[in-house]
Amino acid sequence: MNYRYDNTFFGFLSVVFDAYHDGIGQTGAISGDDGQDLFSDSVFVEMDPTKAQRVLDGLQRQCGSKICHYLYYAFLAEQPQREYYLLRFLRQAFKQKESFCRHLSEPDIWKVRRWAARTGNERHRLLGLLRFRELQGGLLYGPVAPDCCVVPVMAPHFVKRLPAEAWVLHDVKRNMGVYYDRHSVTIVDIPRPSHSIILSEAEPMFEELWSRYYGTISIAERANPSLRQQFMPKKYWPWLIELE
C-alpha cells in the first residue's frame, strides 16, 4: 500500500499508525503531498493528532525520549527519502525496544542520527545568527533561510528569552514562520510580502551601532577571513546586518 500525507511531522506519524493498522509488511512508498500523484493507488492519510500522539507515546515508552528526539529532528532535516528511512528506523525501534539505543551505530540508524545532528547543529548556529529588526509598532522580525526546517524548534528558545516581546521568526525559504504575541506561539503561513517592511524609528541607529561595533572589534593584525567563513558560512550572510 502506498501513502500520501500533508508533509507535517504529525501527518507522517498518522501514516505510520495507519501502516501498522493495514499491515506494516505491505507498506510501499510514503510520499509528501506535492501535487504529483506518482502512484494511482496511493491513499491520502489525514493528519490525526490522536494517532500521531499514540505512535509518539509508544516510542517514548519503549525506547526513551532520546529516540523521539532523533526521529523529530531527522524529519525536520528534509533529506531525500526521509519517509522511507524513518519508517525503517521506527520499525527497528519498535522491534528492539529498550535495546535499540545500543544499535545506533548500524548504518541506517547512523544515517538518521546524522540527519538529526544536522538539524540540531543548524538550530544552534541560527540561535546565534538570527537577527531581529524592530518594525513600526515594536514587533521584532527575524528572517532566516535555513537548510533544515529549524524554525519550529528555535521558537521555544526565544519564548524563554524574550517573553515580553512580540516577535516573528520568518522562514523565507518555506514561506512559513512562528509568531509570538507575548502569550502563545502559533505556526503561521507567510506568503510573499506584497509591500516592503517598515522599520521603527530607532532601528537604523542600532543597526548602524552594531555594524560599527562589528568593524572595530576585529584585530587587524590577526585577520583570518577563511576562519570566519568556516564558522559563519556565506549562505547566512544576506540576513546578517553587520555584513551588508
Binding site: F132, L209, Y214, I217
Partner: protein, 418 residues
Amino acid sequence: MEQDRMMNKLRILSDAAKYDVSCSSSGSRRQNTANGIGNGAAAGICHSWSEDGRCISLLKILMTNDCCYDCSYCVNRRSRDTERATLTPEEIAELTIEFYRRNYIEGLFLSSGVYKTPDYTTELLIRTAHILRQEKHFNGYIHMKGIPGTDERLIRTLGSYVDRLSINIELPSAAGLKLLAPQKTKRSILQPMSCIKEGILARREEKKRIKKVPSFVPAGQTTQLIIGATPDSDRNILRLSEALYRNMSLKRVYYSAYVPVLTGPNLPALAQPPLLREHRLYQADWLLRFYQFRADEILTEAMPDFDIQIDPKACWALRHPEQFPVEVNRASYHMLLRVPGIGVTSARRICAARREAWLSYDTLRRLGIVLKRAKYFITCRGKYYGGQHGLERAGTSLYLQEQQRQYEPMDLFSGVTP
C-alpha cells in the same frame, strides 16, 4: 541617545577592549524572571564572528579608557596620546538591552580602565550591573572585570550580580609585572582572585544545605596572560596556569599573543604577534584540563619551550616511545587520552564500545575515530597498523602531516610566517 556621540564612544571603547580575548558565554544557567528579559544558555551561543575569526558573543566594551595607570604594554596607558571616552552606566545598560533584544549578543562583557581609583571604578561597574539586573530585569550573561587592588567587599557585591568575573594577570611573572606594569603588584591581583574563589566555594557549601541561595559568579572566574611581551618561557607560563587551575579553581586561562601596537624601551620588538605559540599554549592548556596531563610532563626543564612544529601531545608521545604502542582493547582511559589523535570523545567511545565486543581496526574506523595519527601508537587485538617501521617513522610522518596542515588554504594561521 544621540547617535553621533554614541557612535564615537562605541568606536573608541570597543577598539580599546578588543585585546581582551575572552568572549565565552557558557557556564551559566540563569533563568529568566516573570517580567524579565534574557536567560543564560549553559553551552554558550556565538552570535557572530569578526574578520579575525574570533567569535563575538558578548558586547565587549570598556566603561572608560581614561586610565590612571601607565602599563607600557597597554593601549590605554596614561602617557599615550589617544582619544578618551567614558560611557555612563545608564548608556551601557541601554545599549546592552537594545542589542540583546535584537539577538546581536548573548550579554555584556564590561571591562574598564582604572578611573580615579580601583574602588571608584568598581563602584561604577556595580552601578551598571545593578541597573541591568534590578531596573531592567536583565537575566542574560554578564561578564565583568575585577580591577586589581579593589576592596574585597566591593568584589563580593559585584559577584552577586554577574555571571563571570575575571582579573587579568597579563604578565606571567612578578619581574615582568615590575618592568611593564609598575603600578600593579602580584598581591593586588591575587588577593581579589582568592576572594572570588572563596565566595564561590562558600556559596557551593551553602547550596548543599539551603535549597535556594542567591548566585555568586555562577560561571566561575577566568584570567588572561599576554604571550610574548616578556621573556618568560612556555614552561613558566604553563606551570602558572596549572597552579591557577589547582589553587584558584579558575574556569579558564586565556592566552593572548602580544600584538605590537606600541613601542617602548621595555617592550620587545616583534614583527608579528606570536600566534602559533599562543595556539600551542592553548593545546597544552587543554591537555591540563581534559587530558590528565601535568605541566611538568608537557614541558621539562631540559625543554622549556614548545616545539612550534608539532603539537604538545604528539611531542610528549614521541619523547616516550617506551609507553607505546598501547592495546586499545585493554589500555586505561587515562592512557587512551595520551595517544595522539585520540581525544576525549574518541576515548569515551572506545571505552563504551569495547564493553560490548572486541575492537578491530575497522570497528575503530566505524566508531568515527581518526586513525591518521593514532595508528602509529596503538595495536588492535595485538596487531599493529602503523607500517613496518613502527614508531621510528611515526615522528617523521607526524611532522609532515602537521606541516601540510599549516600550508593548507583553510588554515587557522594564515597570517603566520612559519
